[in-house]
Amino acid sequence: MDESSVNSSIIQDLVRPLYRGSGKSPLYSCLHVPVQASKTRGGVVLCNPVGNEYYYSHQALRQLATRLARHGYQVLRFDYFGTGDSIGEEVEAAVERWMVDISEMIDEVKQLAHCEHVTVVGLRMGAALCWKVVQSRNDVKRVVLWEPVLDGKAQLEEWRCQQAAHDEAYGYPELVKQTETLGISLPSSLIAEIESVRLSAIRPCDKDVLLVANSSDSAIHRVVNDIEKSGAQIVYKKTADGKFWLETDLESLVPGSSLSLIVDWIAELP
Protein backbone atom coordinates (compact mmCIF):
# COMPACT_ATOMS: atom_id res chain seq x y z
CA MET A 1 0.00 0.00 0.00
CA ASP A 2 1.61 3.30 -0.95
CA GLU A 3 1.09 6.70 0.70
CA SER A 4 -1.14 8.01 -2.08
CA SER A 5 -3.64 5.22 -1.62
CA VAL A 6 -4.44 6.43 1.88
CA ASN A 7 -7.15 9.07 1.86
CA SER A 8 -6.16 11.07 4.92
CA SER A 9 -9.18 13.37 4.80
CA ILE A 10 -11.58 10.66 5.88
CA ILE A 11 -9.42 9.00 8.50
CA GLN A 12 -9.71 9.86 12.17
CA ASP A 13 -6.31 8.93 13.56
CA LEU A 14 -6.54 6.83 16.69
CA VAL A 15 -4.16 7.56 19.54
CA ARG A 16 -4.28 5.93 22.97
CA PRO A 17 -2.20 7.61 25.71
CA LEU A 18 -0.96 5.14 28.31
CA TYR A 19 1.27 4.77 31.31
CA ARG A 20 3.06 1.44 30.74
CA GLY A 21 6.08 -0.35 32.04
CA SER A 22 7.27 -2.04 35.14
CA GLY A 23 6.76 -1.33 38.81
CA LYS A 24 6.33 2.09 40.32
CA SER A 25 7.95 3.98 37.46
CA PRO A 26 5.61 3.64 34.51
CA LEU A 27 6.50 5.38 31.29
CA TYR A 28 4.20 7.74 29.41
CA SER A 29 3.50 6.41 25.95
CA CYS A 30 1.15 6.89 23.02
CA LEU A 31 -0.08 3.94 21.02
CA HIS A 32 -1.08 4.81 17.46
CA VAL A 33 -3.64 2.27 16.33
CA PRO A 34 -4.53 1.36 12.73
CA VAL A 35 -8.08 2.37 11.86
CA GLN A 36 -8.78 -1.17 10.68
CA ALA A 37 -7.40 -3.08 13.65
CA SER A 38 -8.10 -6.41 11.95
CA LYS A 39 -5.43 -5.60 9.36
CA THR A 40 -2.58 -4.97 11.79
CA ARG A 41 0.76 -5.58 10.06
CA GLY A 42 2.94 -5.54 13.16
CA GLY A 43 4.38 -3.39 15.89
CA VAL A 44 6.81 -0.47 15.75
CA VAL A 45 8.61 1.27 18.63
CA LEU A 46 9.87 4.84 18.18
CA CYS A 47 12.83 5.97 20.30
CA ASN A 48 13.13 9.71 21.00
CA PRO A 49 16.16 11.96 20.94
CA VAL A 50 17.07 13.55 24.29
CA GLY A 51 17.60 17.11 25.53
CA ASN A 52 15.84 19.85 23.61
CA GLU A 53 15.97 17.71 20.46
CA TYR A 54 13.13 15.77 22.06
CA TYR A 55 10.85 18.85 21.90
CA TYR A 56 11.88 20.01 18.45
CA SER A 57 11.40 16.59 16.85
CA HIS A 58 8.18 15.67 18.64
CA GLN A 59 6.01 16.67 15.69
CA ALA A 60 8.15 14.66 13.24
CA LEU A 61 7.89 11.51 15.35
CA ARG A 62 4.15 11.93 15.79
CA GLN A 63 3.78 12.32 12.02
CA LEU A 64 5.83 9.18 11.50
CA ALA A 65 3.65 7.26 13.95
CA THR A 66 0.49 8.51 12.27
CA ARG A 67 1.70 7.51 8.81
CA LEU A 68 2.80 4.06 9.94
CA ALA A 69 -0.54 3.50 11.69
CA ARG A 70 -2.31 4.39 8.43
CA HIS A 71 -0.24 1.64 6.83
CA GLY A 72 -1.51 -0.86 9.38
CA TYR A 73 1.14 -0.80 12.14
CA GLN A 74 0.60 -0.42 15.87
CA VAL A 75 3.14 2.23 16.80
CA LEU A 76 4.33 2.98 20.30
CA ARG A 77 5.98 6.31 21.11
CA PHE A 78 7.21 6.77 24.67
CA ASP A 79 9.15 9.07 26.99
CA TYR A 80 12.25 7.72 28.71
CA PHE A 81 12.41 7.71 32.51
CA GLY A 82 12.92 11.27 33.81
CA THR A 83 11.91 12.86 30.49
CA GLY A 84 8.63 14.20 29.07
CA ASP A 85 5.60 12.92 30.99
CA SER A 86 7.26 9.81 32.34
CA ILE A 87 7.88 9.33 36.01
CA GLY A 88 11.24 10.45 37.35
CA GLU A 89 13.21 13.64 37.81
CA GLU A 90 15.75 14.91 35.29
CA VAL A 91 18.53 14.47 37.84
CA GLU A 92 17.69 10.75 38.00
CA ALA A 93 17.89 10.25 34.22
CA ALA A 94 20.42 7.64 33.10
CA VAL A 95 21.41 6.11 29.76
CA GLU A 96 21.44 2.57 31.21
CA ARG A 97 17.88 3.09 32.44
CA TRP A 98 16.78 4.45 29.04
CA MET A 99 18.04 1.27 27.36
CA VAL A 100 15.99 -0.80 29.80
CA ASP A 101 13.01 1.41 28.88
CA ILE A 102 13.52 0.66 25.16
CA SER A 103 13.63 -3.05 25.88
CA GLU A 104 10.46 -2.89 27.98
CA MET A 105 8.62 -0.95 25.28
CA ILE A 106 9.57 -3.59 22.69
CA ASP A 107 7.94 -6.17 24.97
CA GLU A 108 4.92 -3.88 25.42
CA VAL A 109 4.31 -3.40 21.71
CA LYS A 110 4.60 -7.14 21.10
CA GLN A 111 1.86 -7.63 23.65
CA LEU A 112 -0.31 -4.74 22.44
CA ALA A 113 0.00 -5.60 18.74
CA HIS A 114 -0.05 -9.38 19.28
CA CYS A 115 3.07 -9.81 17.17
CA GLU A 116 6.30 -11.79 17.50
CA HIS A 117 8.62 -9.39 15.71
CA VAL A 118 8.98 -5.66 16.10
CA THR A 119 10.50 -2.83 14.06
CA VAL A 120 12.41 -0.19 16.03
CA VAL A 121 13.05 3.36 14.81
CA GLY A 122 15.51 5.57 16.69
CA LEU A 123 16.10 9.26 16.08
CA ARG A 124 19.41 10.93 17.07
CA MET A 125 20.41 9.63 20.54
CA GLY A 126 17.40 7.29 20.31
CA ALA A 127 19.11 5.63 17.32
CA ALA A 128 22.39 5.06 19.18
CA LEU A 129 20.57 3.64 22.20
CA CYS A 130 18.12 1.43 20.34
CA TRP A 131 20.92 -0.03 18.18
CA LYS A 132 22.74 -1.13 21.33
CA VAL A 133 19.54 -2.71 22.69
CA VAL A 134 18.30 -4.52 19.58
CA GLN A 135 21.59 -6.25 18.74
CA SER A 136 20.97 -8.71 21.55
CA ARG A 137 17.29 -9.29 20.70
CA ASN A 138 16.07 -11.82 18.17
CA ASP A 139 12.54 -10.38 18.13
CA VAL A 140 13.65 -7.18 16.39
CA LYS A 141 14.18 -7.85 12.69
CA ARG A 142 14.24 -4.29 11.34
CA VAL A 143 15.90 -1.17 12.66
CA VAL A 144 15.85 2.40 11.38
CA LEU A 145 18.75 4.60 12.47
CA TRP A 146 17.52 8.11 11.73
CA GLU A 147 20.12 10.89 11.86
CA PRO A 148 21.95 8.86 14.50
CA VAL A 149 24.29 10.34 17.07
CA LEU A 150 27.52 8.50 16.24
CA ASP A 151 29.51 9.72 19.20
CA GLY A 152 28.14 10.91 22.55
CA LYS A 153 31.06 13.31 23.01
CA ALA A 154 30.05 15.15 19.83
CA GLN A 155 26.47 15.42 21.11
CA LEU A 156 27.68 16.97 24.37
CA GLU A 157 29.95 19.37 22.51
CA GLU A 158 27.04 20.44 20.29
CA TRP A 159 24.93 21.13 23.41
CA ARG A 160 27.81 23.05 25.02
CA CYS A 161 28.14 25.30 21.94
CA GLN A 162 24.37 25.89 21.83
CA GLN A 163 24.37 26.79 25.51
CA ALA A 164 27.31 29.19 25.08
CA ALA A 165 25.65 30.94 22.11
CA HIS A 166 22.36 31.15 24.02
CA ASP A 167 24.01 32.53 27.16
CA GLU A 168 25.90 35.10 25.14
CA ALA A 169 22.78 36.26 23.29
CA TYR A 170 20.93 36.80 26.60
CA GLY A 171 23.92 38.22 28.43
CA TYR A 172 24.02 35.35 30.94
CA PRO A 173 27.34 34.42 32.54
CA GLU A 174 29.07 31.53 30.81
CA LEU A 175 28.62 28.18 32.57
CA VAL A 176 31.88 27.03 34.12
CA LYS A 177 30.72 23.43 34.04
CA GLN A 178 28.18 21.77 31.75
CA THR A 179 25.17 21.27 34.04
CA GLU A 180 22.25 21.87 31.69
CA THR A 181 21.26 22.12 28.06
CA LEU A 182 18.89 25.03 27.51
CA GLY A 183 17.00 24.46 30.76
CA ILE A 184 17.24 20.69 30.90
CA SER A 185 19.42 19.37 33.71
CA LEU A 186 22.48 17.29 32.86
CA PRO A 187 23.69 15.54 36.00
CA SER A 188 27.39 14.60 35.90
CA SER A 189 26.53 10.88 35.92
CA LEU A 190 24.43 11.34 32.76
CA ILE A 191 27.19 13.35 31.07
CA ALA A 192 29.64 10.52 31.78
CA GLU A 193 27.23 7.97 30.30
CA ILE A 194 26.53 10.07 27.19
CA GLU A 195 30.29 10.54 26.66
CA SER A 196 30.68 6.80 26.32
CA VAL A 197 27.91 6.36 23.72
CA ARG A 198 29.25 5.14 20.34
CA LEU A 199 27.26 3.78 17.45
CA SER A 200 28.99 0.60 16.39
CA ALA A 201 28.28 -3.06 15.77
CA ILE A 202 29.16 -5.01 18.89
CA ARG A 203 28.11 -8.48 17.79
CA PRO A 204 27.12 -10.33 14.61
CA CYS A 205 23.52 -9.76 13.64
CA ASP A 206 21.21 -10.54 10.73
CA LYS A 207 18.88 -7.55 10.87
CA ASP A 208 17.59 -5.30 8.12
CA VAL A 209 18.85 -1.80 8.84
CA LEU A 210 17.95 1.53 7.24
CA LEU A 211 20.24 4.46 8.00
CA VAL A 212 18.80 7.86 7.08
CA ALA A 213 21.00 10.95 7.36
CA ASN A 214 21.46 14.31 5.68
CA SER A 215 25.21 13.92 5.95
CA SER A 216 27.47 11.67 3.91
CA ASP A 217 30.72 12.29 5.71
CA SER A 218 33.33 9.66 6.42
CA ALA A 219 32.00 8.96 9.93
CA ILE A 220 28.65 7.86 8.49
CA HIS A 221 30.35 5.59 5.94
CA ARG A 222 32.50 4.04 8.69
CA VAL A 223 29.34 3.16 10.65
CA VAL A 224 27.63 1.78 7.53
CA ASN A 225 30.68 -0.45 6.84
CA ASP A 226 30.88 -1.51 10.47
CA ILE A 227 27.22 -2.56 10.54
CA GLU A 228 27.57 -4.32 7.17
CA LYS A 229 30.53 -6.35 8.45
CA SER A 230 28.41 -7.56 11.37
CA GLY A 231 26.21 -9.40 8.87
CA ALA A 232 23.30 -6.96 8.80
CA GLN A 233 21.65 -5.89 5.53
CA ILE A 234 22.07 -2.12 5.66
CA VAL A 235 20.56 0.46 3.32
CA TYR A 236 21.96 3.98 3.61
CA LYS A 237 19.83 6.85 2.30
CA LYS A 238 20.98 10.45 2.23
CA THR A 239 18.19 13.00 2.51
CA ALA A 240 17.98 16.71 1.85
CA ASP A 241 16.01 17.38 5.04
CA GLY A 242 17.61 19.97 7.29
CA LYS A 243 18.55 19.59 10.94
CA PHE A 244 14.93 19.77 12.08
CA TRP A 245 15.85 18.57 15.59
CA LEU A 246 17.68 21.86 16.19
CA GLU A 247 14.83 24.17 15.16
CA THR A 248 12.41 25.67 17.67
CA ASP A 249 8.76 24.65 17.51
CA LEU A 250 7.58 27.45 15.22
CA GLU A 251 10.51 27.19 12.82
CA SER A 252 10.71 23.41 12.68
CA LEU A 253 9.73 21.81 9.39
CA VAL A 254 8.46 18.28 9.28
CA PRO A 255 11.16 16.30 7.41
CA GLY A 256 8.88 15.04 4.65
CA SER A 257 11.39 13.13 2.54
CA SER A 258 12.84 11.26 5.53
CA LEU A 259 9.36 10.30 6.71
CA SER A 260 8.43 8.96 3.28
CA LEU A 261 11.70 7.00 3.03
CA ILE A 262 11.20 5.38 6.41
CA VAL A 263 7.51 4.56 5.92
CA ASP A 264 8.11 3.12 2.44
CA TRP A 265 11.06 1.02 3.62
CA ILE A 266 9.13 -0.45 6.56
CA ALA A 267 5.96 -1.02 4.54
CA GLU A 268 7.77 -2.66 1.62
CA LEU A 269 9.49 -5.35 3.64
CA PRO A 270 7.41 -8.49 4.14
Binding site: Q12, V15, D85, L182
Partner: protein, 286 residues
Protein backbone atom coordinates in the same frame (compact mmCIF):
# COMPACT_ATOMS: atom_id res chain seq x y z
CA UNK B 1 1.02 12.06 43.55
CA UNK B 2 -0.83 10.02 40.94
CA UNK B 3 -0.78 10.49 37.18
CA UNK B 4 -2.98 9.01 34.51
CA UNK B 5 -3.06 9.50 30.78
CA UNK B 6 -6.45 9.79 29.15
CA UNK B 7 -8.53 10.89 26.19
CA UNK B 8 -10.80 13.79 27.06
CA UNK B 9 -13.19 16.22 25.42
CA UNK B 10 -16.50 15.65 23.66
CA UNK B 11 -14.93 13.49 20.92
CA UNK B 12 -12.58 11.71 23.35
CA UNK B 13 -9.69 12.74 21.11
CA UNK B 14 -7.80 15.24 23.27
CA UNK B 15 -4.74 13.62 24.81
CA UNK B 16 -4.05 14.69 28.37
CA UNK B 17 -2.42 13.73 31.64
CA UNK B 18 -4.19 14.26 34.96
CA UNK B 19 -1.92 14.75 37.96
CA UNK B 20 -3.68 14.30 41.29
CA UNK B 21 -2.55 14.54 44.90
CA UNK B 22 -1.94 11.31 46.72
CA UNK B 23 -5.35 9.65 47.34
CA UNK B 24 -4.66 9.73 51.08
CA UNK B 25 -4.13 13.49 51.00
CA UNK B 26 -6.69 15.33 53.13
CA UNK B 27 -6.20 18.82 51.73
CA UNK B 28 -7.23 18.24 48.09
CA UNK B 29 -9.06 21.20 46.59
CA UNK B 30 -12.20 21.11 44.44
CA UNK B 31 -10.47 23.52 42.07
CA UNK B 32 -8.51 21.97 39.22
CA UNK B 33 -5.89 23.58 37.01
CA UNK B 34 -5.73 23.39 33.21
CA UNK B 35 -2.26 23.83 31.72
CA UNK B 36 -2.60 25.14 28.16
CA UNK B 37 -0.14 24.54 25.31
CA UNK B 38 2.73 27.00 24.98
CA UNK B 39 2.61 27.56 21.22
CA UNK B 40 3.18 24.31 19.36
CA UNK B 41 5.12 22.72 22.21
CA UNK B 42 3.37 19.61 23.49
CA UNK B 43 1.79 19.32 26.91
CA UNK B 44 5.02 18.62 28.83
CA UNK B 45 5.81 22.30 28.24
CA UNK B 46 9.16 23.83 27.29
CA UNK B 47 11.93 22.31 29.40
CA UNK B 48 9.24 20.06 30.94
CA UNK B 49 7.96 22.97 33.05
CA UNK B 50 4.28 21.91 32.90
CA UNK B 51 5.20 18.46 34.23
CA UNK B 52 7.18 19.99 37.07
CA UNK B 53 4.45 22.54 37.83
CA UNK B 54 1.73 19.85 37.82
CA UNK B 55 3.70 17.66 40.23
CA UNK B 56 4.45 20.62 42.53
CA UNK B 57 0.73 21.52 42.58
CA UNK B 58 -0.23 17.93 43.42
CA UNK B 59 2.10 18.05 46.43
CA UNK B 60 0.02 21.00 47.66
CA UNK B 61 -3.30 19.24 47.10
CA UNK B 62 -4.18 20.75 43.71
CA UNK B 63 -5.08 18.54 40.74
CA UNK B 64 -4.24 19.56 37.21
CA UNK B 65 -4.58 18.39 33.65
CA UNK B 66 -2.06 19.17 30.95
CA UNK B 67 -3.35 18.40 27.48
CA UNK B 68 -2.79 19.04 23.82
CA UNK B 69 -5.21 21.05 21.72
CA UNK B 70 -6.18 19.21 18.54
CA UNK B 71 -3.31 19.09 16.06
CA UNK B 72 -0.72 19.99 18.71
CA UNK B 73 1.55 17.52 20.52
CA UNK B 74 -0.08 14.10 20.91
CA UNK B 75 -3.67 15.06 19.96
CA UNK B 76 -4.78 14.25 16.41
CA UNK B 77 -6.06 17.04 14.18
CA UNK B 78 -9.79 17.70 14.18
CA UNK B 79 -11.77 16.35 11.27
CA UNK B 80 -14.53 19.00 11.48
CA UNK B 81 -12.41 21.95 10.25
CA UNK B 82 -13.27 24.11 13.30
CA UNK B 83 -10.98 27.18 13.11
CA UNK B 84 -8.08 26.91 15.54
CA UNK B 85 -9.00 30.13 17.39
CA UNK B 86 -12.42 28.63 18.15
CA UNK B 87 -11.04 25.21 19.07
CA UNK B 88 -8.58 26.94 21.42
CA UNK B 89 -11.58 28.10 23.48
CA UNK B 90 -13.98 25.22 22.93
CA UNK B 91 -11.56 22.44 23.84
CA UNK B 92 -10.53 23.82 27.27
CA UNK B 93 -14.26 24.16 28.01
CA UNK B 94 -14.83 20.54 27.03
CA UNK B 95 -11.98 19.52 29.34
CA UNK B 96 -13.64 21.49 32.14
CA UNK B 97 -16.91 19.64 31.44
CA UNK B 98 -15.10 16.33 31.93
CA UNK B 99 -13.34 17.50 35.09
CA UNK B 100 -16.67 18.71 36.45
CA UNK B 101 -18.02 15.17 36.02
CA UNK B 102 -15.02 14.01 38.07
CA UNK B 103 -16.13 16.32 40.92
CA UNK B 104 -14.19 19.53 40.33
CA UNK B 105 -16.21 22.74 40.62
CA UNK B 106 -13.91 25.64 39.76
CA UNK B 107 -10.93 25.98 37.46
CA UNK B 108 -7.71 27.93 37.18
CA UNK B 109 -6.27 28.24 33.69
CA UNK B 110 -2.52 28.61 33.29
CA UNK B 111 -0.53 29.02 30.12
CA UNK B 112 2.68 30.37 28.70
CA UNK B 113 2.73 32.52 25.52
CA UNK B 114 -0.24 31.48 23.37
CA UNK B 115 -1.40 29.39 26.33
CA UNK B 116 -2.01 32.69 28.12
CA UNK B 117 -4.09 33.93 25.17
CA UNK B 118 -6.09 30.73 25.25
CA UNK B 119 -6.63 31.01 29.03
CA UNK B 120 -7.77 34.62 28.81
CA UNK B 121 -10.19 34.06 25.92
CA UNK B 122 -11.64 30.92 27.54
CA UNK B 123 -12.18 32.71 30.87
CA UNK B 124 -14.18 35.40 29.09
CA UNK B 125 -16.55 32.70 27.83
CA UNK B 126 -16.76 30.57 30.95
CA UNK B 127 -17.51 31.70 34.48
CA UNK B 128 -16.39 28.40 35.99
CA UNK B 129 -12.89 29.85 35.66
CA UNK B 130 -11.91 31.43 38.97
CA UNK B 131 -8.46 32.60 37.96
CA UNK B 132 -5.79 32.75 35.30
CA UNK B 133 -2.00 32.55 35.54
CA UNK B 134 -0.90 34.27 32.32
CA UNK B 135 2.80 33.63 31.76
CA UNK B 136 4.75 35.69 29.24
CA UNK B 137 1.65 36.80 27.38
CA UNK B 138 2.48 38.43 24.06
CA UNK B 139 -1.10 38.85 22.92
CA UNK B 140 -4.50 38.66 24.59
CA UNK B 141 -6.53 39.48 21.47
CA UNK B 142 -4.43 38.40 18.52
CA UNK B 143 -3.90 42.10 17.83
CA UNK B 144 -1.20 42.51 15.18
CA UNK B 145 -1.43 46.28 14.99
CA UNK B 146 0.07 46.52 18.48
CA UNK B 147 3.20 44.58 17.64
CA UNK B 148 5.32 47.45 16.33
CA UNK B 149 4.40 49.65 19.28
CA UNK B 150 5.31 46.91 21.73
CA UNK B 151 8.71 46.31 20.11
CA UNK B 152 9.26 50.08 19.87
CA UNK B 153 8.86 50.22 23.67
CA UNK B 154 11.31 47.36 24.08
CA UNK B 155 13.97 48.86 21.80
CA UNK B 156 13.71 52.41 23.18
CA UNK B 157 13.27 51.65 26.86
CA UNK B 158 15.51 48.62 27.34
CA UNK B 159 17.65 47.52 24.40
CA UNK B 160 19.13 50.96 23.68
CA UNK B 161 20.91 50.88 27.07
CA UNK B 162 22.05 47.27 26.79
CA UNK B 163 25.61 46.53 25.64
CA UNK B 164 24.54 42.98 24.79
CA UNK B 165 21.66 44.25 22.58
CA UNK B 166 24.09 46.40 20.57
CA UNK B 167 26.45 43.44 20.25
CA UNK B 168 23.56 41.28 19.02
CA UNK B 169 22.63 43.98 16.52
CA UNK B 170 26.15 44.09 15.11
CA UNK B 171 26.52 40.32 14.94
CA UNK B 172 23.24 39.61 13.17
CA UNK B 173 21.46 38.13 16.17
CA UNK B 174 18.34 40.34 15.95
CA UNK B 175 15.28 40.27 13.73
CA UNK B 176 16.07 43.23 11.47
CA UNK B 177 12.58 43.31 9.89
CA UNK B 178 10.98 43.69 13.30
CA UNK B 179 13.48 46.39 14.27
CA UNK B 180 12.81 48.34 11.06
CA UNK B 181 9.04 48.12 11.58
CA UNK B 182 9.42 49.47 15.11
CA UNK B 183 11.58 52.36 13.85
CA UNK B 184 9.06 53.09 11.09
CA UNK B 185 6.28 53.07 13.67
CA UNK B 186 8.21 55.55 15.81
CA UNK B 187 8.84 57.84 12.83
CA UNK B 188 5.21 57.72 11.69
CA UNK B 189 3.86 61.27 12.28
CA UNK B 190 0.39 59.93 13.12
CA UNK B 191 1.84 57.84 15.95
CA UNK B 192 3.82 60.83 17.18
CA UNK B 193 0.59 62.82 17.52
CA UNK B 194 -0.38 60.71 20.49
CA UNK B 195 -1.95 57.48 19.31
CA UNK B 196 1.01 55.45 20.61
CA UNK B 197 0.10 56.50 24.16
CA UNK B 198 -3.36 54.96 23.84
CA UNK B 199 -4.19 51.77 25.67
CA UNK B 200 -6.37 49.06 24.20
CA UNK B 201 -9.81 50.05 25.48
CA UNK B 202 -11.51 46.79 24.47
CA UNK B 203 -8.94 44.79 26.39
CA UNK B 204 -9.28 47.02 29.43
CA UNK B 205 -13.05 46.48 29.32
CA UNK B 206 -12.56 42.73 29.06
CA UNK B 207 -10.32 42.73 32.13
CA UNK B 208 -12.95 44.82 33.96
CA UNK B 209 -15.56 42.22 33.01
CA UNK B 210 -13.41 39.33 34.28
CA UNK B 211 -12.41 41.00 37.53
CA UNK B 212 -15.98 42.21 38.07
CA UNK B 213 -17.06 38.56 37.94
CA UNK B 214 -14.41 37.68 40.53
CA UNK B 215 -12.02 36.03 38.07
CA UNK B 216 -8.49 36.86 39.20
CA UNK B 217 -5.50 37.39 36.92
CA UNK B 218 -1.82 36.78 37.61
CA UNK B 219 0.55 38.21 34.98
CA UNK B 220 3.88 36.46 35.35
CA UNK B 221 6.47 38.05 33.06
CA UNK B 222 10.08 37.16 32.39
CA UNK B 223 12.20 40.31 32.46
CA UNK B 224 13.80 39.59 29.07
CA UNK B 225 10.45 38.78 27.46
CA UNK B 226 8.35 41.17 25.40
CA UNK B 227 5.34 40.55 27.69
CA UNK B 228 6.58 43.29 30.04
CA UNK B 229 6.36 45.90 27.25
CA UNK B 230 3.16 44.36 25.89
CA UNK B 231 1.27 44.95 29.13
CA UNK B 232 2.69 48.50 29.38
CA UNK B 233 1.38 49.28 25.89
CA UNK B 234 -2.05 47.62 25.94
CA UNK B 235 -3.01 48.45 29.52
CA UNK B 236 -0.94 51.62 30.00
CA UNK B 237 -1.82 53.33 33.30
CA UNK B 238 -4.81 51.01 33.86
CA UNK B 239 -2.51 48.15 34.90
CA UNK B 240 -1.63 49.82 38.20
CA UNK B 241 -5.32 50.47 38.86
CA UNK B 242 -6.14 46.79 38.32
CA UNK B 243 -3.29 45.77 40.62
CA UNK B 244 -4.51 48.21 43.28
CA UNK B 245 -7.97 46.56 43.12
CA UNK B 246 -6.40 43.29 44.32
CA UNK B 247 -7.91 41.32 41.42
CA UNK B 248 -4.80 41.50 39.24
CA UNK B 249 -1.23 40.71 40.23
CA UNK B 250 1.98 41.05 38.28
CA UNK B 251 5.42 39.58 38.92
CA UNK B 252 8.48 40.22 36.79
CA UNK B 253 11.10 37.51 37.05
CA UNK B 254 14.58 39.11 36.84
CA UNK B 255 16.87 37.81 34.10
CA UNK B 256 14.45 35.18 32.77
CA UNK B 257 13.57 34.86 29.08
CA UNK B 258 10.48 33.79 27.14
CA UNK B 259 10.87 30.01 27.51
CA UNK B 260 12.74 30.01 30.83
CA UNK B 261 15.74 28.33 29.26
CA UNK B 262 17.84 28.52 32.42
CA UNK B 263 17.20 25.91 35.06
CA UNK B 264 17.25 28.46 37.91
CA UNK B 265 14.65 30.63 36.18
CA UNK B 266 12.41 27.61 35.67
CA UNK B 267 12.53 26.87 39.37
CA UNK B 268 11.70 30.48 40.25
CA UNK B 269 8.83 30.54 37.76
CA UNK B 270 7.40 27.28 39.08
CA UNK B 271 7.65 28.58 42.67
CA UNK B 272 5.84 31.82 41.80
CA UNK B 273 3.14 30.19 39.65
CA UNK B 274 2.46 27.33 42.07
CA UNK B 275 2.28 29.66 45.10
CA UNK B 276 -0.30 31.88 43.38
CA UNK B 277 -2.32 28.95 42.04
CA UNK B 278 -2.40 27.08 45.38
CA UNK B 279 -3.48 30.22 47.20
CA UNK B 280 -6.28 30.86 44.68
CA UNK B 281 -7.35 27.21 44.62
CA UNK B 282 -7.70 27.25 48.39
CA UNK B 283 -9.65 30.50 48.43
CA UNK B 284 -11.92 30.08 45.41
CA UNK B 285 -14.97 29.04 47.39
CA UNK B 286 -14.92 25.26 47.21
Amino acid sequence: MKEKALLIGRRRAIVGVVTEPDPTSKNSTATAVLLLNAGMIHHAGPGRIYVKLARRLAQSGVSSVRFDLSGVGDSPVRSDHLPVVMAAIQEPREVMDDLQKMGFKRFILAGLCSGAYCAFRTALEDERVSGMALINTMSLKGELEMASRVWEQRYLKTSIYSRQAWKNLLTGKVQYTRLMKAIASKLNPFNRMGSSKKMDETLVEEIRLLTGRGQKIFFLCAEKDISVQYLQVVLAGELQGFIASGMVEQEILPGANHLFTKHDHQEQMINLASSWIVQEANSSGD
